[in-house]
Amino acid sequence: MFWQQLVNGLTLGSTYSLVALGYTLIMGVLNIINMAHGEVFMFGAFVGLFLVNYLKVNIFVAMAGAMAASALLGILLEMLALRPLRRRAVSDLAPLISTIGVSIFLENLALKIFGPQSQAFPAGALSGVQLQLGPIRITLVQIVILGISFGLMFVLRFWLSKTRVGKAIRTTAESIETANLLGINTNKIILLTVALASALGGIAGVLVGLSINAVEPTMGLSMGLKGLAVLILGGMGNITGAMLGGLILGIAEVFTVAYGASSYRDAVAFGIIILILFIRPQGLFGKRQGGRF
C-alpha cells in the first residue's frame, strides 16, 4: 500500500511540477507571479480536447496544437496585461492584481465558450493502458507525464544555460535595464519567455486532462493555486526547485490523505505556502534575495 501511495504521490506531483515550471519561468525572468497561469493551463486542455474530439487529430499533434494556442494566449497576456505595467513605475503588486483580473476573465470566458460541463478525452487517446509492476499499478499516461516533466526540466535547464537566447533570458532575469544596455531587445525576450511558459502550461493542460479525464473551465483556479504553492516551496524562479517542489507537494498531499485526515488535503498546499514564506522565504532551493538596504 505504501508503494502504491508513493507512486500516486509521484504521479500527482509530476502534474504539479509541470504546471509549476510555467510559473517559475515567468517568476525567474520577470519577478512576477502570473496568477493567470492556471487559466492558461485550462485553455491548453480545452484546445487539446477540441483537436482530439472534433478534428480527430492524434494525441501528440493535439499536444503541439495546445502548446501553440497557449503560447499565443501567453503573448496576448503579456502584450495587454504586463507590458503596459512596465511602461510606468508601478508597484510590484500591479502585475499580481492585473493577472488576477486576467484569470477571472479567462475563467468566465471559458465558461461561456466551452460551457460548464466537464468533458473528457475519448477513451482511445492514450489513457486506457495500464501497467502492473509488482504491487504497483500505474497508467501509461502517468508515465508519460513523469517522463515529459523530467524531460522538459532538463531541456529547459540546458536551453537556458547553453543557448544564446537562453543566456539573453537569464541576463534579462538579472535586470531588465542592464540587459537593455547590453543590446538585448528585452521586450522580445520577455514576450518569448511568457510564450514559452504558457506553452508549458498548455502541454501540462493536455497531459493532466488526459490523466484525470475531466476538463472543465474552473479547474484552472485550483491547479493554479497548487502551482503557486510549488513555486514558493521550490524557490522563486528556480527550475529544479519547481520540479522537486511539485513532487514533494504531491507526495505530501497523498500521504496526508493516506495516513492523516483526507479532509485536510487542501490545507497542505496552503499550509506549505505560509510555512515556507515564514521560515525560508527563498524556498528550499532558491538563493537568498538581497538585504534590506
Binding site: A94, I104, A229, L277
Partner: protein, 313 residues
C-alpha cells in the same frame, strides 16, 4: 419616497454599505503599503464567531459583532507577527494562503457545522426592531415590519460607515497616521526616523482585521446563513477589486469602488453571465491605465483647485 422603501433597492444599498466597510478594511492595511489578501479569512472568522455567539450562545447582536471583530483581530496578530517580515507579493501570497487555510479549518470544525454552515441566524433588522419595541417605539407611521427593520439596518450601517470614515480621517491627521504614511513611502527610512515599523504594521493589520471581522458579523446577520463557500478566493478578489477600482490613497476610494462594483450586477442584471468577465477586464484596465484608482490625491487636489477657482471668481 417609494423607491427608498422598495425592499429590493433597500437590500442592495445594505449590501453596498457592507462592501464599503470591507473596502475600508483593505484600505487600512494598504495605508502602510501592505497588500493583505487575507481579508476574506478575517471576515469569515468574524462572521462565524458572531453567528455562533448569537445562534448557539444567545448573545445579543450588538455585543456579538464587535466580539467577532476582536476575534479576527486577535488571530491577525498571531498570523501577522511572522508575516510582517514579508513585503509586497510575498505578503500578498502568504495572506492568500492564510485565507484558504481558515476556509479548510472552518470546513472541518464541528462547531462551525462544516459545509452545512450555520442557518437561522436572526436578522439584524428583527433584532433591532425588537430592541426598539422594548423601548416602546415599535412602529413608525404606516411602514410594514419588513420595511422598518430594513430602514433601521440601513441607518445602523450608515452610522458604522460614517464612524469608520471619521476614524480614518482623524487617524490620518494624527501621529499614528503619519507613521503609517511614512512606512508606506519608505519603510527603512521610517525606521531610521525612530518609528517601530513592526508595531505600526501590526497595528494596521489588526485594525484591518477588526473591521473585516465586524463586516463579517454584519453580513452574517443580513443573509441569515453563512457557509465556507461565501468566504473563498473569489470573495478576497472582490474586496481587492474595490480598492483597485476606487483607489487606495484616500478612504473614499474603496468606498466608491464598493459602491460601483456592488451596483454593477444589478445594473447588468440582463447580461449577468458577462459580469465576472467585466470585473476581470476592469482590473486589468485599471492596473494598466490608472493604477492609483479612480480617486487619488491628485484627483482631490485637482478638483479642489478647480472648485476653488470657481468659488473665488
Amino acid at each position: 419616497m417609494d423607491i427608498i422603501l422598495n425592499q429590493y433597492y433597500l437590500q442592495i444599498v445594505i449590501f453596498v454599505l457592507v462592501n464599503a466597510i470591507l473596502g475600508v478594511s483593505i484600505y487600512m492595511t494598504l495605508s502602510t503599503g501592505q497588500l493583505s489578501l487575507g481579508n476574506a479569512g478575517f471576515m469569515s472568522i468574524g462572521a462565524y464567531t458572531c453567528a455562533i455567539l448569537t445562534v448557539k450562545a444567545g448573545f445579543p447582536v450588538y455585543l456579538a459583532i464587535p466580539i467577532g471583530g476582536a476575534a479576527a483581530s486577535f488571530i491577525s496578530l498571531i498570523i501577522g507577527y511572522p508575516a510582517l517580515r514579508l513585503t509586497g507579493i510575498y505578503l500578498a501570497i502568504a495572506t492568500l494562503g492564510f485565507g484558504e487555510v481558515v476556509r479548510v479549518i472552518i470546513l472541518n470544525l464541528k462547531i462551525t457545522n462544516g459545509a452545512l454552515g450555520i442557518s437561522g441566524i436572526p436578522t439584524l433588522g428583527t433584532k433591532i426592531s425588537k430592541m426598539l419595541s422594548s423601548f416602546g417605539l415599535s412602529r413608525f407611521g404606516g411602514l410594514t415590519a419588513q420595511q422598518t427593520s430594513n430602514l433601521l439596518v440601513l441607518v445602523v450601517l450608515i452610522f458604522i460607515l460614517a464612524f469608520l470614515v471619521f476614524f480614518c480621517t482623524r487617524l490620518n491627521r494624527s501621529r499614528v497616521g503619519r507613521a503609517f504614511a511614512s512606512i508606506k513611502a519608505d519603510e527603512s527610512a521610517a525606521e531610521a526616523m525612530g518609528i517601530n515599523t513592526t508595531y505600526y504594521k501590526l497595528l494596521a493589520f489588526a485594525l484591518g482585521a477588526f473591521i473585516a471581522g465586524m463586516a463579517g458579523g454584519l453580513s452574517a446577520h443580513l443573509t441569515f446563513f453563512i457557509g465556507p463557500k461565501d468566504f473563498a478566493y473569489h470573495r478576497t478578489v472582490e474586496i481587492l477589486s474595490f480598492a483597485v477600482l476606487g483607489g487606495s490613497d484616500l478612504i473614499i476610494g474603496p468606498i466608491v469602488g464598493a459602491l460601483l462594483l456592488t451596483m454593477l450586477p444589478e445594473l447588468l442584471r440582463s447580461a449577468s453571465e458577462y459580469r465576472l468577465m467585466i470585473y476581470g477586464a476592469l482590473m486589468v484596465i485599471m492596473m494598466a491605465f490608472r493604477p492609483q484608482g479612480l480617486i487619488s490625491k491628485e484627483t482631490v487636489r485637482f478638483w479642489k483647485r478647480k472648485l476653488g477657482r470657481r468659488i473665488n471668481q
